[in-house]
Amino acid sequence: MTIGRLADPRSLAGAVLVPVASVVLALATVAVLLVVIGANPFDAFGSMFAAALGDAHAISTSVTKAVPRLMAALGIAIAIRAGLWNIGAEGQIYLGGMAATAVVLYAPELPFPLIPLLAIIAATLAGAAWGAIPGALRAWRGVNEVITSLMLVYVGIQVTRYMLEAPWAVPGATFPATEPFGAYARLPIVVPGTLLNLGALLALLAAIAAWFLVDRTRFGLNVRAIGGSPNASRFLGIRVNRMIFLTMAVSGAFAGLAGSIEVLGVRGRLIEGFSQAYGFEAIAVALLGRLHPAGIVGAALLFGVLDAGGAGLQTGARGVSSSIVQIAAGLSVGYVLIGLGIQEKLRERRRTRDALERTEAARADASGGDTSEATS
């Protein structure tokens, strides 16, 4: 499968139709699963709807759950547009969370926007650095970035554990986490009475920035060029290796940003396991959104709604929420992959048929209109 098939649908209908049909099919599959376990799917979807979209608080829960997946997916999509696989967003999220925490813990108490601002910048840089490592290894040592970015996830998670259990450990705490941050260090709630914090607005800005970066800048042009053809890009004078390095760094920066929003806006402290596979699910979000920021916003909101809604399921067992999201996520992307495969096969068949018809027409012309010979 070429990157082009994912990123450049031939028509708007094609861009929207396959993902939307896939999501509908995935939700239908989940409904069947719910029937199988003996839940009434209408009741189940009803309680999911209430928990995810029922009132302002529910909606803010869904949006808050969409935010980290959205931001990490934006970065992953940029990498894929360049033909690079950043599988390690989860690790970059942890690095971002740690960097933001370091700023809060070590900087003095400053008037409001300063500490979060510094923390977000630090997180972005830390995420970028974590993404830049596989980037540099790919660019200058020819190492496949899939394995290295994946390995760095576990390094990032373990470093976070170390920080929480050694230098930042709170004596007597039952769970590895820092003390809650003071209000001066947090991202404030923007709609009173809900969970909606400033991070949601930052995520929207990030989506616009990602769109601008890829579609309207020289950098974005180069990203798309090396994603299309690294060799041709080289002839055009693009420094491909430098671009690979930079793209992976930018990709990691978005994930690092996501980590800081989760820590500063949602949790209000660093806590072990604060990213619940958001970075992995973000890969699915990026693909479901067909690598376009607008599509990614939609896909991330869907995942947020499923996550919040799953918590409202009346099955009385923990773990249903996360598993419902993961099943829907996996199925949606799986159906998209199959849909794109079918689309491509149909297109190919049409092309072959057109070519055949042209050949036949040409033969018919050459043989003076004797079609019986042409079809033999």
């Binding site: 696989w85 390995m151 576990y154 170390y162 699915a284 099955t315 996360s322 993961q326 992307v333």
Partner: protein, 305 residues
């Protein structure tokens, strides 16, 4: 460091190594044929789950492992359908299957098996080999394991022989290095890759089954906890060779066993950083700072007629 510490360390290391080794050997076969399985973790997880489900249903350890194989094969089949039939990118398919497998096993555990999630099942029994298991230090580690662990280590030379000395191995290697050339020699590349993928699924399923049926005796959500990714790394670190893969797996497992023991003994070692060591070592090795290594040329590239 006393003798007891070393003995226990080795027992733990070999026990940790066996599932990794089985999964890594499967991945090695698959990668040799040009198919990468980022969803190795998913194969292990579904294998572990179906293995426990099979043990609960049949109370028979052999049938339970057969179930584990079926579990791994299901994930392999989904990967093959996506990549070979619908031409999906292998990495995308792998990532998707990981998410799906985690969701599906957790869902089935909570919703179908109910609250009794940590129900214990019959475990595969240890078979100490007389005399040999009495050898100090290495005896308990090498000669007092269960039959699956013994088979894991026996598989290393067998798989080396299969890959290096049989025509099937040659077909696998040519499908992974030069698929076009292989096809022109009459090798059906996609059929060869299906077989390699199936072997990987079966082995990874057994590996998952060994985690639950050989060690824990029950299934918990995400019981594999990233072992599939370690196995992936071991193939790379082992330079796509069976013996190299064995060395990599043993290295990772000794480090892992050491960090567990360091934790329980309260040794002044930042064990979290020790856990990260295998991943770091793999990255450094991949970067060519230790030794030059090259993956199969057509790894991850779908073959289309």
């Amino acid at each position: 460091m006393d003798i007891d510490f070393l003995t226990l360390l080795l027992v733990a290391a070999v026990s940790l190594a066996a599932p990794l080794l089985i999964a890594a050997l499967g991945e090695l076969i698959s990668e040799t044929a040009g198919v990468i399985n980022i969803q190795l973790e998913a194969m292990m997880l579904v294998g572990a789950f179906v293995g426990v489900a099979g043990a609960l249903l049949t109370q028979n350890i052999v049938l339970a492992f057969a179930g584990a194989i079926v579990g791994g094969l299901i994930v392999a089949a989904l990967h093959g359908i996506a990549c070979f039939w619908f031409r999906a990118n292998q990495i995308v398919s792998g990532v998707t299957l990981n998410i799906l497998a985690l969701g599906a096993t957790t869902f089935l555990l909570v919703s179908v098996m109910g609250a009794d999630v940590t129900q214990s099942v019959a475990r595969v029994e240890r078979i100490p080999i007389p005399v040999l298991s009495q050898i100090p230090v290495i005896g308990p580690a090498l000669f007092a394991q269960n039959v699956v662990v013994y088979l894991a280590f026996v598989a290393v030379p067998i798989i080396w022989w299969m890959l290096d000395r049989t025509s099937f191995g040659l077909a696998l290697r040519s499908a992974g290095e030069r698929p076009e050339a292989a096809e022109s020699l009459g090798i059906d590349v996609n059929r060869t890759r299906w077989m390699a993928l199936a072997m990987c699924g079966a082995l990874a399923g057994i590996a998952g089954g060994l985690l639950t049926l050989g060690g824990l005796g029950f299934f918990t959500p995400n019981v594999t906890a990233g072992r599939g990714f370690i196995a992936l790394a071991a193939v790379v670190f082992g330079r796509w060779r069976p013996a190299g893969t064995l060395v990599a797996v043993l290295l990772f497992s000794v480090v892992d066993a050491f960090q567990i023991r360091a934790q329980t003994l309260g040794l002044p070692v930042p064990y979290q950083l020790l856990v990260a060591l295998p991943y770091l070592v793999t990255i450094i090795a991949l970067a060519g700072f230790i030794t030059r290594m090259r993956p199969p040329s057509a790894l991850g590239v779908n073959y289309e007629h």
